[in-house]
């Protein structure tokens, strides 16, 4: 335990490489009790980070301490970590209680079945449901995976892309579950590659991109940071030159280029102001706006921007 008795994960200058491929580079972060989201595009190094935190692999450089101990060498740490792996499949031909009981037995729980039933109730499933896991919906299967991860009452719960593929309603219910688990004096780490997925968690966020820590802090502050970055947007309208002239005059864009006969591409660092100004301007000029297409709004470019911003 740390001095104040709260479970923490301390990551210091961690790097991980596989041959020539650098998966993680110079990551330093502290994860406290409560809910933290690990955000980053596919291939950003989230799963490598999770494997290192769980002690499933060792960092090539740097140190990780889970409640002050090395997860790679401390057997005791296993008792405080629960992992929900990314894989969606679950063993066929078994029901939830059987599956979670096995997890409880492997964790050395004295009464595996009792612990399994309690964990299944915690994730709001019915422990008396005898149906096999193969007949469960995706959301239910995710809950079973969470039940197996919390069956031994871990202080640290790590969920690798748990919201993947869930519909908005399921995602919302799952987010509420994570928030509740985090309030039970746990450190809950949720990884995701979709910014909007973690929005509902309103958590502390660590953003990984290209193996580096791109941003960390409060979700809303990072959201703001993303909105404030330079944007490039393609606009199609009935008179693109008039629109270009109007936008330059408004001060909400920093550059304009023509793109074909009916389109312009603008650069702006004040996207919120631009969004407010654009409809008013087209109305004032009597233009028909045909298309507004962000050209660099995919997560990859967002994360790249964050990485570049942090680089010296």
């Amino acid at each position: 335990m740390t001095e104040n008795g709260r479970a923490t994960i301390e990551i210091k200058n961690v790097a991980k490489w596989f041959g020539e491929v650098v998966a993680l580079s110079g990551i330093t972060a502290t994860i406290q009790t409560g809910l933290t989201s690990l955000l980053g595009p596919n291939g950003a190094g989230k799963s490598s980070m999770i494997r290192i935190i769980c002690g499933l692999t060792s960092p090539s450089q740097g140190t990780v301490r889970v409640i002050g101990q090395d997860p790679r060498t401390s057997v005791e740490i296993r008792k405080v970590i629960g992992l929900v792996p990314q894989q969606e499949r679950l063993p066929p031909g078994v029901n939830a209680v059987e599956f979670v009981s096995m997890a409880a037995a492997l964790q050395g729980m004295h009464d595996p079945q009792g612990a399994a039933r309690k964990a299944i109730e915690t994730v709001e499933l019915d422990p008396n449901d005898r149906r096999h896991l193969s007949s469960y919906s995706k959301g239910m299967r995710q809950r079973v995976k969470i039940a197996q991860a919390i069956v031994h009452d871990p202080r640290i719960l790590i969920l690798d892309e748990p919201l993947n593929g869930l519909d908005p309603r399921q995602r919302s219910r799952m987010a509420q579950l994570f928030i509740r688990l985090a309030t039970e004096d746990r450190c809950v780490l949720v990884s995701s590659h979709v910014l909007e997925e973690v929005q509902e968690l309103s958590s502390t966020v660590l953003v990984l991109a290209e193996g580096k820590l791109a941003a960390e802090g409060d979700f809303h502050a990072i959201r703001q940071l993303l909105d404030d970055r330079p944007h490039r947007i393609r606009l199609r309208c009935s008179d693109p030159l008039a629109l270009a002239s109007g936008l330059m005059g408004s001060g909400s864009v920093s550059g304009v280029q023509t793109s074909g006969d009916d389109a312009i591409v603008i650069d702006t660092s004040a996207v919120t102001q631009f969004r407010r100004r654009l409809p008013r301007l087209t109305q004032e000029l009597g233009l028909h706006l045909l298309e507004v297409a962000p050209l660099d709004d995919d997560l990859e470019s967002v994360f790249r921007y964050l990485v570049a911003r942090r680089s010296p």
């Binding site: 499933l56 692999t57 790679r72 078994v94 037995a105 492997l106 964790q107 050395g108 004295h110």
Partner: protein, 287 residues
């Protein structure tokens, strides 16, 4: 507030109860794995192959017992080793279709990571799976022959001397366990190379078939020396059974190969299998 009244503590309470050690988790994984491959507590489709394999092994054993019971007085019953002449093919099939089920789904369904964040580490996991494999195979290589021993004894075909009373059970256990350990380890090693049961089953069958076919070609048209038997994973364990029962050979034509070489080769194959397993799981967890 009255003296009897109290406010219940509704805050979340962490589990502070007893936690058992690695030995308990190891045992639970062994028992769970045995039940899993035999289809216990699973739907009917998972019981079909184990049931067919068990039937195809226990029916010949029952035939032996019936034959011994109906044979005229003074006629010796079929020898114990003859049981393997009738059942080796069924044992191969059992091995090929059940051993992959022990480890492939753990990788495929992601439960391996779950195991590695529990009391288990790769060495304990592999040890549990190997022990489960040997135990399951002992059901078809040891138990039927022990049943034969008990039934023969009940029918009056006791081992002859005091020495035989020790030697015969030792031969039965030795031969049966040798087959279980050899086939179980090799099949698990092959299965560890993939996370798909079907690929693993095909790999096991091909290894046995190709190994047997290669030996046939080498020893037939190519007149290879008898020691090539030692690289034949199909015939080597059966040959070792013959030596345990003090026969010249198991119909493999390898009588010239010394018994110690047969034993050493079988042990080497098992060690290779264990090394493959250790290599394949070395990166999973690390304690």
């Amino acid at each position: 507030m009255s003296a009897q009244a109290q406010i219940a503590d509704r805050r979340f309470q962490h589990y502070e109860g007893k936690r058992l050690g690695v030995g308990y988790s190891f045992l639970r994984l062994v028992l769970y794995s045995i039940g899993w491959v035999l289809g216990l507590k699973r739907t009917s489709r998972y019981k079909i192959i184990p049931t067919l394999a068990l039937v195809s092994v226990y029916v010949p054993a029952a035939g032996f017992v019936i034959g011994a019971a109906l044979s005229p007085p003074g006629t010796p019953p079929p020898p114990y080793y003859a049981f393997y002449y009738f059942t080796l093919t069924a044992i191969y099939i059992f091995v090929a279709f059940t051993m992959p089920e022990l480890i492939c789904p753990d990788r495929r369904h992601g439960t391996l990571r779950m195991y590695m964040t529990s009391n288990l580490n790769p060495a304990v996991y592999v040890a549990a799976k190997v022990l489960a494999a040997w135990s399951v195979l002992a059901l078809v290589t040891v138990v039927p022959v022990i049943i034969l021993l008990v039934t023969y004894s009940l029918l009056g075909y006791d081992p002859g001397s005091v020495g035989d009373w020790f030697k015969t059970p030792a031969q039965i256990l030795g031969a049966g366990l040798e087959l279980a350990i050899f086939y179980g380890t090799i099949a698990l090693a092959i299965s560890s190379l993939t996370d798909r049961n079907s690929f693993a089953s095909a790999g096991i069958i091909l290894t046995f078939v190709l190994s047997g076919a290669a030996l046939g070609i080498l020893q037939g048209p190519l007149k290879a020396p008898a020691w090539v038997l030692l690289v034949n994973v199909n015939q080597l364990p059966a040959e070792f059974v013959a030596r345990i029962y003090q026969l010249n050979d198991f119909g493999t034509g390898a009588a010239k190969v010394p018994t110690w070489e047969v034993a050493a080769a079988a042990a080497a194959w098992v060690l290779v299998g264990l090394a493959v397993l250790a290599y394949r799981y070395r990166g999973e967890g690390g304690k």
